[in-house]
Point group: C2
Chain length 216, copies 2
DNA sequence: TCTCCTTTTAAATAACTGTTTCAACCCAGC
DNA sequence: GCTGGGTTGAAACAGTTATTTAAAAGGAGA
């Protein structure tokens, strides 16, 4: 049990530290200290710092996969409901409106500075979600959606969501700290993105070119 | 002249190295070696590593500010034209569709992991652009736009644009390398984002709540 | 109690970091 | 030619890093 305990203490402490500081700035000394274990324990149980990190990445991916489930496309819900639910779930997974889990931060860091395991994460974890989003978009947009537009529509939705995770500090600065608290809670953001995207997707085919005459 | 040369060689070499590796991973030894100057020259000319970095940030901001100018809001152009032009200019500044300059990478890194000088960059450089975007949105949306919605509309446009700079690798993986080349060139992206956003903004007030009945 | 194996501990190691030192160098101005 | 300022060079410094070592401690089985 002592072995389990020590190893687990390392994992528990290392996750937040890697997430907060990144791989480089996180030191094994900080981790061992935070875990209340001896410095050598990390190498004893995990081999080296990098193996500890990859084990945490694996745990992060497992954790992210479970928990919140995306809407069932075969349900009788309307496409607009499905999209709003999709956005809400994605934002919640991204940890918007709450202190983000270290698991999410770890995966997001992998996106931004892609390493060897990024491809695996995208293929195994993110692609299924993205495909289900595209199916919702199909239902919303109706017929006549070409392949490229379909992808770009998906990225327009994803991009809005990710923005609130990635550009959080910038948003606070531009909106002001006080306003950022009120106007950018989870519900308000997800409602906004859903409304914005539904209006866009439904109106998409009506505007083949931006209309030079002004209002549409 | 030799002084100019050495200092300039340091600046030229340090920019890409900081951009690529981030502040922590970039070492003064790497920089001095790449510049072909002595290790001590960096401290001789810049005081320390951090002062070199902030000087590079300043240069990056100057470079980004000049060159492409955002549309003049007082012109006789229609709001839709203005928005498309805004998006195009922003994407070009972000270096979409070309190999990104180190200057851009440096500023983007500041967004993602804000340091002490981030606030200055946002206030001095980004806020004016953001405000002009909000004015374009005002013209597109017409009356009755509350303060919070106005901000969120702005971030929906910005978020879509930034997504192509931040999530480039993920996009390539999800869309496939071949398709990413074709479907995500500068013109196609900017045209898409403009079209998507115009449809969304113009249709925004028509959907107070996502409509449960399906198509709108 | 003795033994064997796993685990923990503290210390040492070697590599790497930013920074400093100080002698050597260059090159105008006298 | 010499002098003195600014500049360069190689080495050393002090601090931190991940990693390794070897001894100590613990704990179960005989």
């Amino acid at each position: 049990m002592s072995e389990e305990s020590t190893k687990q203490k390392i994992l528990d402490s290392a996750g937040p530290i890697f997430a907060k500081n990144g791989y480089q700035k996180a030191t094994v000394r900080d981790i061992s200290e935070a875990a209340g274990v001896n410095l050598a324990s990390i190498n004893y149980y995990f081999g080296d710092k990098e193996k500890l990190y990859t084990e945490l990445l694996l745990l992060a991916r497992e954790k992210m996969g479970g928990g919140l489930s995306f809407p069932n496309l075969n349900s009788e819900n309307s496409p607009t409901e499905l999209l709003e639910r999709f956005v809400t779930v994605l934002l919640r997974k991204l940890g918007i409106g709450e202190e983000p889990d270290w698991q999410i931060q770890l995966l997001v860091n992998e996106f931004l500075q892609p390493s060897s395991s990024s491809r695996e994460i995208v293929e195994g974890y993110f692609r299924p979600y993205f495909e289900s989003l595209l199916e919702i978009i199909d239902q919303l947009a109706g017929t006549g959606l070409n392949r490229e537009d379909r992808l770009r529509l998906g990225f327009s939705v994803i991009g809005q969501c990710l923005h609130y995770r990635l550009a959080g500090p910038m948003i606070s600065m531009l909106a002001g700290e006080d306003e950022a608290q009120g106007a950018f809670g989870l519900e308000k953001i997800s409602h906004h993105i859903a409304r914005f995207s539904i209006a866009a997707i439904c109106g998409f085919n009506k505007i083949s070119e931006p209309n030079p005459s002004g209002r549409v």
